[in-house]
Symmetry: C2
Subunit: 642 residues, 2 copies
């Protein structure tokens, strides 16, 4: 990993809010910022390194190549709409790239990246119109008028990503041109869509969560009020009827009345994040309770074992309760990112470990699944069952967004790569929080943590772990405090049999937080032991598509069976579950039988199928997030049981 | 049922080809026409009656109301494109209605319907341009130019339905204005897309099958040659790349090279029908073999137990092999109609009973499922598992084509109701065929059959049956022949234990055709006994979505469990399969248990699910084709096994 320069570190330390993506003015937990937590290696350190060396560059290069960045130049040079490239929301991907760059600069002080970000800002700035409007798709002669297609135009959605980029920049660098652009655009949004303005919402939620954060950053409560208005307006049918139905963009039921997330999954989760933020800032317990209820029901009935959300390709949407087909799981990478956003906000608001559990599940099994090992190709959708090997996308071709389940270098709709990039760059912010009593660790990674308790005492911790390869989490106190404070360590819900050791005594701990309260002295160690071993996991019987099948999880990591390990298509593979999965030399192995089946006959018969099984043999499983890194394969997370 | 007037009957009898929808110039079997076979009651007689009294009227009324017929008036009056209503292919539904009317007039001689059809023709005729072009969507000032959007424009598709309407008219009435319109349009198509014309195909196959039949009817081999050209051109990438991929419109692989049906199901099946017709007319055994192979593989791996085809809502398309989710079965009604078309063509070409089996399965479980009992609402998609009761579509509202799984009166894309109407009106043509040796019965319905054997001898048969309520099929010879000939009776593949009785002796018969060869005298009876009783049916283990579940079939009819019979949501219902399903007083009953399950918890657990089962109780099943006729319900064809 790159090392931050002294200058950059100092810039970050003096930036407002210390590099925190989310800074609620109230809530149970206080987030720590990128200057307070540094991931120093391990699983996520490697992903951050991949992001730093490859993913951000890859995204920038592709957006230059396909002309999405060039759209801004074309606007300045009066070449629009003729020379416009990409879909109506392509501006937003440039902003997401800029957000990723800003967090990454904050994290590492990379000066080359700093220059590239500044250059991008310089190309975008002149496109902003005098009244603050900024979009390359609308409003010019030959283009549709501004805000004439709120259902599909994505103008406010694009602002949302602009605002988030500006917040990232402001909180890692301070107010600069990017922040000023965002402020002018936000003022324009408030004037246009305020209480006396257009009674309308955007077809794609996103501006809500971004307006709240821009308001938190700038201190301008108008932005919060505008976010509140957008949240309250939604669900009242101001958007036109479309074939997918108004639930597609959550305009079917008011946010505070809804029982479950529904419609387009990314839209639903961005909205939930924004609604949670609005609820926190306005002390609206009813609204926060609505988001909590919707999220809980969604997790109970509409979420894949990976934490993936979205069961329909059509409409990229949630399905009905328990409708979770592995072979048609949409589980868009962006929905994984959005679930992390929602989970983190609910964690900060409530302090409940179940929200950090969701963040962990989605990070390890959706966000980490998207990028290829080389960082140059991505999953847009994340299927749990690949029936055909498919073909590898050409490295120089744009792929349809969901045509293949093999990673592709870039997509016609390419929201996911930049979403992964901004998440990885800001990942340190998900590791730990503080409250009046002490420090909480939520996500386990080798990390250095340095924060100040409310009474002004500075504490420093070092986390050492190979998690999730194993479950040993060692927390060394580098700098203690004179008074007792509480170190809380999250115990995931799957971790039956966990224990914590502190001051020489060991205790079993259960799901939630293991709390150790002491006047920690420098050199003290707290050790959490999580039972990271492979286990069979079964689905509720109402998840019909997983009936008679079993999955394997190892710690937070979902495993899968890949044809490259089986030496055959996974279509007829079944596993024996008499014994737990075997762990040997770092590999997880399960006993698999295969069968020779007729594939030319009518497939419905009088007798129950009882295909002759081969001798079982031990076959290694692959972490789901690493599948399809060894060429085309077939794969399944849910394995039929003999 | 209406009785044909003497005039109409005589018009039909003297019409060319005697009311046959498909008249191959060669093939193993010769189709009988509507003047040779009359369905006289029973299951399909009731559907024909519903069609005659309600469905055709309903479709005409709706198309007047939504302006799709009015588009032709608007064209004449110069009000296009401003006053155009409906999607780009709405002309085709007017033509399908006209085809249904033509067959219905041929069947019953209904003089009111005759006047309505003539009136429709009079409104369409003046829209045809001097060179034969006819379409309300393209070519006028303010509209896109002709043939500028072959991917989505559906111009040739619309001609296809025009040609099929004209063939129906010609073969039940003789050449009239409708036929002349079609001939001018077909000439225009040949000039525009012939060997020296545009090297292109239509994004939606249909014109191929229609051109062959128009060629058979008129004797003009140019139409056949044009169909052959369209079939050979497809699969060579002349259509533009789209997000669904070129397999969506079968432009990915040449027809004779493909291994399985793929992409949009209706497109694939219309193309297969056309390719089969071209193969037969050009004695192209390779092409016929290709269709046979693709259809066989599709039946083995990509077809629902209902005969339904199309596993994806997105793209209305086939899925991968064995990807057949009951809860997302698209199984479009039109794909059922198209499967019937393809199956019937392959039956005529090969004489193999398996093709008639497909026709039967799709008729009883897809085509018959679409219309509501009152004939005023239709399924567009045919799900095999309804998870939410949904809401009944308003009787005066147009529904999105696939938004709900409850029948709706009309759709924004409303291809299905008219497709059902034309199929029901011409259903007599599927009942029986003849060859040099005698007569074959393929579909069982009470019917009167009168045909002439090649040596000029007239034979008359009367079929008496309550099939599929029971399996007794009695064939009375009303008029025999001096020389021996063969009566062949199809024995469906499911009918294990069937027997045939003739001349006092009874014999077991197996799947295929039971053949009785005699110099049948008037008054002789042949009795076929099919074992119509309820049976458990299991899916191949690779149909993952049906794993651990069982269906019930009774004769050709797939059954289902509906919440209105269970008295509860079907979500937790499981059945015991120790004994065969019970049949009592005409009902099929199965032992069902239900369970109380937590629906607020994370649904993936360590232990195998073993929900406590209630006492089992006998619950009646409903024929799948009759489900959702008693208000909103949840339903499943595949029932989990205890």
């Amino acid at each position: 990993m790159s090392t931050p320069s002294a200058d950059a570190a100092s810039a970050l330390a003096t930036g407002p809010d210390h590099g925190r993506p989310v800074v609620p003015s109230t809530g149970v937990l206080r987030p720590l910022g990128l200057d307070e937590v540094r991931i120093t290696g391990g699983f996520w350190g490697r992903f951050q390194e991949l992001n730093a060396t490859t993913i951000i560059d890859h995204a920038e290069r592709w957006m230059e190549r396909v002309g999405w960045i060039g759209n801004f130049d074309a606007a300045v040079e009066g070449r629009l709409p003729v020379d416009r490239h990409g879909r109506e929301f392509s501006d937003s991907d440039v902003y997401k790239l800029m957000e990723a760059m800003a967090w990454e600069i904050g994290r590492t002080g990379n000066t080359t990246l700093e220059a590239r970000l500044v250059a991008l800002v310089d190309r975008i700035a002149p496109v902003q119109e005098a009244d603050g409007y900024l979009n390359t798709m609308f409003g010019r002669p030959g283009q549709q008028p501004r805000y004439s297609d709120l259902e599909w135009g994505h103008e406010l959605y694009c602002y949302g990503h602009l605002f988030q980029a500006a917040v990232a920049r402001g909180r890692t660098h301070g107010r600069d041109t990017l922040v000023e652009i965002a402020v002018r655009a936000a003022d324009h949004v408030c004037e246009t869509f305020g209480p006396d303005g257009l009674d309308a919402v955007c077809g794609h939620p996103e501006v809500e969560v971004a307006l709240v954060e821009l308001g938190r950053y700038t201190g301008d409560r108008r932005y919060l009020e505008q976010a509140r208005l957008f949240v309250e307006r939604r669900g009242r049918g101001t958007l036109a009827q479309i074939e997918f139905g108004q639930q597609y963009f959550q305009d079917d039921v008011p946010v505070r009345d809804a029982e479950v997330l529904r419609g387009h999954a990314v839209r639903a989760l961005y909205l939930a994040s924004g609604a949670a933020d609005v609820a926190v800032e306005t002390a609206d317990a009813e609204l926060l309770g609505a988001v909590d209820r919707q999220l809980a029901t969604t997790l109970a009935r509409r979420t894949y074992i990976t934490g993936g959300m979205g069961a329909h390709h059509e409409g990229e949407s949630f399905g009905d309760d328990y409708e979770l087909p592995p072979d048609r799981s949409y589980s868009e990478t962006c929905a994984g990112v959005a679930a992390v956003m929602t989970g983190q906000r609910m964690l900060l608001a409530t302090g409940q470990a179940r929200h950090a559990d969701l963040v962990e599940r989605a990070l390890y099994n959706v966000v980490a699944t998207s990028p290829a090992e080389d960082g140059k190709a991505f999953f847009y959708t994340n299927t749990l069952h690949q029936r055909t090997p498919g073909t590898v996308a050409a490295s120089d071709a744009v792929s349809p967004r969901a045509a293949a389940s093999l990673r592709a270098p870039w997509f016609a709709v390419s929201c996911c790569p930049t979403n992964v990039a901004r998440t990885l760059a800001s990942l340190g912010a998900y590791v730990a929080t503080a409250d009046d009593d002490g420090v909480q660790l939520h996500q386990y990674a080798p990390a250095d943590i340095r924060t100040t308790l409310p009474d002004g005492e500075v504490v420093e911790l070092r986390v050492l772990t190979e998690y999730p390869a194993d479950g040993h989490i060692r927390v060394e106190v580098l700098r203690g405090a004179a008074r007792p404070w509480t170190l809380s360590l999250r115990v995931p819900a799957w971790a039956e049999g966990a224990s914590v050791t502190a001051a020489g005594s060991s205790e079993p701990v259960t799901a939630g937080y293991a709390r150790v309260t002491r006047a920690f002295a420098a050199g003290e160690v707290v050790q959490l032991e999580l039972p990271v071993h492979a286990r069979w996991s079964w689905a509720d019987p109402r998840v019909d598509a997983a009936r008679g099948q079993v999955a394997v999880e190892r710690g937070p990591v979902v495993m899968c069976l890949e044809s490259v390990d089986l030496g055959a298509d996974v279509a007829t593979a079944r596993v024996r579950t008499d014994e737990p999965p075997l762990e040997r030399d770092g590999a997880v192995l399960v006993p698999v039988v295969t069968a020779e089946l007729d594939d030319a006959a009518w497939p419905y018969r009088h007798g129950a199928p009882n295909p002759p099984a081969s001798e079982s043999r031990l076959v290694p499983l692959t972490p789901y997030h690493r599948w399809a890194n060894r060429g085309p394969s077939t794969m399944r997370v849910w394995m039929p049981v003999v």
